[in-house]
Symmetry: C2
Subunit: 376 residues, 2 copies
């Protein structure tokens, strides 16, 4: 187990928890949202501005970084933090999800996965051992086990086989990680939508022992209702004294529902990707800035938001720079969306600390219901 | 003549001058470089960061803004400054140059120009009166006369006819501008590469009377040597107590040579456009960041530059984000290039004030000669 890595729960409200993950690179306030910095950049943002929105930690994608610029080159250049000018914690995924989702020609067996690069078609391998080695070379603070994200839908038989493979890989990931003080290794629960498989997976991971536990295999097309059904029991199957991380989630209401169900960490490309396609996420729902009705609207996206897009620009301006395909549109909308996400997380943390999560969630939903905006 | 607009020359060194243009929106230190904000944004930059590079004034393009979002809409939204969040001075061109260069189907007569929008193909007219009216609606601090930029090469006969048309339009522009305290109107000298025509144009403009004088019709393919030949006499034909503005110039060595020849103001898309195509402009020449030799270079673009690209990132990082087509590449290289241009202008101003322009220029050229970099 790592030495400087620890999780401290400061408040509980129902199943929700608020706390702090301590790392050698700084504290992570939970519930936490991790902006995604796929290729060593949170798209359209400078890292100091990502920090200014309130982000304590970023996510980096092993798959993208191993292909370009390459893990060994990154290590020679001093690691991912220095490379991308982000001194605070970084969590890296294992590459497994992208290998499966971005590659039609991948081949999976007990040893690992063979796949072709989406950049130049070259053949690559990933195994639990290689994934951990690459994440070490990147300098990741929180390393994820290499696993198979079970596709949805899956029969119970398929889900069981997939989950058990991931558990064997979790064991190999743990062995490959070794003793690394100051760095953490997270296991990933699988089991699709089957409570008994989720329980079996949690038990297997608990026996191996990790610094934190991710809930994998969700947000893959099952829908919010089915996801919440799993979250009604899955977090409770995992060790209660370790951080719980719901991978790839999500929309603001997904996050709120998952926090209510005991999840501590999230990551998602939605706020940054939406920003680049003209969608602003606000307390009142989504604003599609390309709609003609914004063309002469002097109001900001949200009059109470303190991000640069809302403080300094009208919807009319944002509409104009969207239509003119100006880079500043992606810059401002991404900044707004990340700011909104971090404000939401701060609100959730404050509500849990105050024992007022129910009221916070009621206001959250009421505002969205009355908002004159488009659904996400 | 405008009331709060004035030009104060504080130092001379040879033909070069250093001074301050006073406007109601703030001072413009000369020699000045104006970043181009074509469509109400300096591409890939937030305006507060453009300001941080040292820019005192931006240029806005009447042609682009009249088509989108439209001048009347802009006026209803409070003008260009508020729209784009730039409180300091803005100079707008007249639209004439873009009408001619971006439109193959334009029709020019004594009254003005008819052209088709490059956005939607709709038909538009521009006349001196309309151009001035649009620039008023935008809220421009320095308005440019509507003129015809004589193409290069042109026979003396063609150049004379074109220049005389521009002089009649200058007269109409002056009449249309009227009495606007706090706003300035600049005339534009034409005459191609013919000293007598340039002299005739300068005389005509001087009789009308303007707050400043642009040197038009250069940087249109004639090359630096031919441009400097014109600049050896053209600035001296214009009133010495008013700012002289060389439109659309230029590369760093163009600017240095023009300052030596008595020019006070410049604008050019080069630093911002180069930034978006992977070219960094430095004291040592241009760096093409896409070249493979930068892939593992841990050095900054320029170790002595204080811009964010140089302070926080290696050439290896910039190469990576260029190859990955990440927006941050455009953001960082544009920032660097604009920073370098403003540093260059500050250096020129300081050298003129110290009576040491020759030494400054010698060092400028020596550094570029020894630089291990690509020519611009």
């Amino acid at each position: 187990m790592s030495k400087s890595f620890s999780f401290q729960i400061n408040a509980r409200d129902g199943r929700a928890r608020a706390g702090i993950i301590h790392t050698k690179r700084g504290e992570i306030r939970t519930p936490a949202f991790m902006p995604v910095g796929t290729a060593a950049t949170v798209k359209a943002m400078l890292p100091e501005n990502v920090r200014a929105t309130g982000a304590d930690i970023l996510l980096g994608n092993t798959y993208h970084l191993m292909l370009r610029p390459g893990a060994e080159r990154m290590a020679r250049l001093g690691g991912l933090h220095k490379f991308m000018n982000w001194e605070r914690p970084i969590l890296t995924d294992s590459g497994g999800f992208q290998v499966m989702s971005l590659n039609e020609l991948r081949k999976l067996d007990e040893k690992g996965v063979t796949f072709k690069s989406h950049i130049d078609g070259s053949t690559h391998h990933l195994t639990p051992e290689l994934s951990i080695e690459i994440q070490k070379l990147l300098g990741s603070d929180i390393v994820m086990c290499f696993d198979e994200c079970t596709p949805h839908p899956a029969t119970e038989d398929v889900a069981a086989k997939s989950m058990r493979l991931s558990m064997r890989w979790a064991d190999r990931s743990r062995a490959a990680f070794g003793d690394r003080p100051d760095h953490a290794l997270f296991g990933i629960q699988q089991g699709s939508v089957f409570p008994e498989l989720r329980a079996e997976s949690a038990e297997a991971l608990g026996k191996i022992g990790f610094d934190g536990y991710a809930i994998g295999g969700l947000a893959v097309g099952e829908g919010q209702a089915a996801m919440f059904e799993v979250l009604d029991y899955a977090p409770g199957q995992l060790p209660s004294d370790k951080p719980r991380y719901l991978m790839g989630v999500g929309k603001p209401d997904d996050i709120v529902g998952a926090v209510e169900r005991g999840v501590d960490m999230f990551d998602c490309v939605l706020p940054s990707r939406s920003g680049r396609t003209g969608q602003a996420l606000t307390r009142f729902g989504a604003v599609n800035i390309k709609n003609a009705r914004h063309a002469e609207d002097p109001r900001p996206l949200d009059p109470d938001c303190s991000c640069p897009a809302c403080k300094n620009y009208s919807r009319a301006y944002l509409h104009h720079v969207f239509k003119a395909q100006e880079i500043i549109c992606s810059m401002l909308l991404t900044w707004h969306n990340l700011h909104y996400y971090q404000e939401l997380m701060a609100g959730l943390r404050g509500a849990i600390a105050a024992g007022a999560l129910d009221e916070f969630v009621a206001v959250f939903h009421a505002r969205r219901a009355e908002g004159d905006v488009e659904p996400v």
